[in-house]
Amino acid sequence: MDVAEAQSKKIDVHQIEKLLCIPVVPFVATDKEYYDAFYAAVNISLENQSKIDVESLETFYNKRMIPCFLP
């Protein structure tokens, strides 16, 4: 996030959450203030058994890469 902010980028975390269906946490690895939110998100994911929605990736694969392998 710090690199993105330095480049004046704004990341829509909630939008990524919606797209992937898992918690997404803004994070700066060198700043320990972010760690609590990260661990909380991990715990919530474990409790809710959140799974990433890979449908869009699979659709992408099916269209572009590996149609010949599929039934």
């Binding site: 690199v3 993105a4 480049q7 004046s8 980028k9 704004k10 990341i11 829509d12 975390v13 939008q15 990524i16 797209l19 992937l20 060198t30 869009s56 990736l57 699979e58 992408f60 694969y61 099916n62 572009r64 890469m65 590996i66 010949c68 392998f69 599929l70 039934p71």
Partner: protein
């Protein structure tokens, strides 16, 4: 490809892994296919070129598309550049000697904050004289126990506290400024062959000065292991008192045995340790 997938894995996932050339997945797919379709599958596989790269590239394209919907305000002309130090510190050639130099320098510098505490510990045995005078009425063996055993043990303990403090302070600073991550990056390829992460080079380097400290340092960043570093001095003293002028040969022999032991262990158990 089996319509319902195999063992809970979707057919798209299986197809992607097969495209990447995953041997286990390919074997399972072939086993699940009827004989008449196996040849077609093998022909398709043979037609794939650079499957890992192609699929990896596809993943990045997918990520780029995903992020394109969620990131705004980027300055197109701005780019991230490494500082000159970063370029040297992460250089495959110069990064390694620089890391070893900084680690050894860190070990030497750790004696700077340690020295006052160690000197303070050094004054403890000097209490033997006044204690001798004060306790002259009690049996001599009790006085000897206090002045020689207890005071020397306290001296050693305080001196070790100083060294642990210094080593933790200096290596803590190196870690906090972010240089440890660069060491980890530079040595990652080498240490991965031993099934370790790059940062494990630190106890390896420290072990040239103190095997016990280096080995114990694997469990913690570095410092705790080095509490026993000065044991090497005592070992050297014992070796010297027993072997006199042959002491250097004994030390060389010990290192030779340790080296051969490492090679034999790697030969016998290496494959099982690295690729379980």
């Amino acid at each position: 490809m089996p319509v319902g997938g195999i063992q809970g894995f979707t057919n798209t996932w299986l197809a992607a892994k097969a495209y990447e050339g995953d041997g286990v997945v390919i074997h399972n797919i072939v086993d699940s296919l009827p004989n008449c379709e196996r040849k077609n599958f093998s022909t398709l596989l043979a037609s794939v070129q650079d499957g890992v790269l192609t699929l990896g590239g596809a993943k990045f394209i997918w990520i780029d598309r995903l992020l394109a919907k969620t990131i705004s305000g980027a300055k197109a002309t701005q780019s991230v550049t490494l500082s000159k130090f970063d370029r040297i510190a992460t250089d495959p050639t110069f990064g390694k000697p620089l890391a070893i130099f900084i680690l050894i320098l860190g070990l030497v510098l750790s004696f700077v904050p340690a020295t006052p505490i160690m000197l303070l510990g050094g004054t403890i045995p000097k209490l033997a004289t006044p204690i001798n005078m004060l306790l002259s009425a009690i049996p001599q063996f009790i006085i000897d126990f206090i002045t020689q055993v207890i005071l020397n043990t306290l001296y050693f303990a305080v001196a070790m506290i100083g060294f642990v403090f210094g080593a933790n302070l200096v290596f803590g600073i190196i870690e906090e400024v972010g240089y440890m991550a660069r060491i980890s990056y530079v040595f990652d390829n080498i240490m991965t062959r031993l099934d370790l992460q790059g940062k494990a080079i630190i106890p390896f380097v420290v072990s040239f000065g103190c095997t016990i400290g280096g080995a114990a340092g694997l469990n913690h960043r570095l410092g705790v292991g080095c509490t026993l570093c000065r044991n090497l001095d005592h070992c050297a003293s014992i070796v010297h008192s027993l072997f006199r002028c042959l002491a250097p040969l004994v030390i060389v022999f010990i290192f030779l045995i340790a080296w051969l032991h490492m090679i034999l262990t790697a030969k016998v158990f290496g494959p099982k340790l690295v690729h379980p």
